[in-house]
Amino acid sequence: AQRVTQPEKLLSVFKGAPVELKCNYSYSGSPELFWYVQYSRQRLQLLLRHISRESIKGSTADLNKGETSFHLKKPFAQEEDSAMYYCALSRNSGNTPLVFGKGTRLSVIA
């Protein structure tokens, strides 16, 4: 079965420090992976998409098929990066529902 694992429920970093939010997946096919983000009092929105490399706010993530990982990276954390982050996997190609991880709350400390 497809599964997305985000091992950290909460991650706290200091402003200006690099950030890595971990995401591991299990899927036998060719995965399509996403990061979604929810800022305080805002709706959930797409942050980054693997296939199209579409991203916002300077985030990057590299798909590592050997380690089945798709970790999100930011070189310098800003206070406005504090949010809930979800990694998600598309089950198959086409319009199938995404499988989400349980999320990681990032807190950036000034």
Binding site: R43, L44, L46, Y86, N95
Partner: protein, 110 residues
């Protein structure tokens, strides 16, 4: 910009009541989804629909049903609300696997 609108931001209902959560999208998307969002559990798929009058069960459909009479509207129904259905409910529509979320309905069942 895609707009996904959920009719209520907050709802308080009593155990046993029939509850309707409404969602409307304005981009003629065929695919619509209902998720619930719980701390520590992430987003879990309840039901989804690929077309009018079509519905598919997600991962946690028990206690829920849905209705899609028009393309733009996807309703989630709690036939007999229970306290364990207290949660944040998120509606989404999608094109090319990019999900657009509503702002959510926080349902409390007392």
């Amino acid at each position: 910009d895609v707009k996904v609108t959920q009719s209520s931001r907050y709802l308080v209902k009593r155990t046993g009541e029939k509850v309707f959560l409404e969602c409307v999208q304005d981009m003629d998307h065929e695919n619509m989804f209902w998720y619930r969002q719980d701390p520590g559990l992430g987003l879990r798929l309840i039901y989804f629909s690929y077309d009018v009058k079509m519905k598919e069960k997600g991962d946690i459909p028990e206690g829920y049903s849905v209705s899609r009479e028009k393309k733009e509207r996807f309703s989630l129904i709690l036939e007999s609300a229970s306290t364990n259905q207290t949660s944040m409910y998120l509606c989404a529509s999608t094109v090319n696997e990019k999900l657009f979320f509503g702002s959510g309905t926080q349902l409390s069942v007392l």
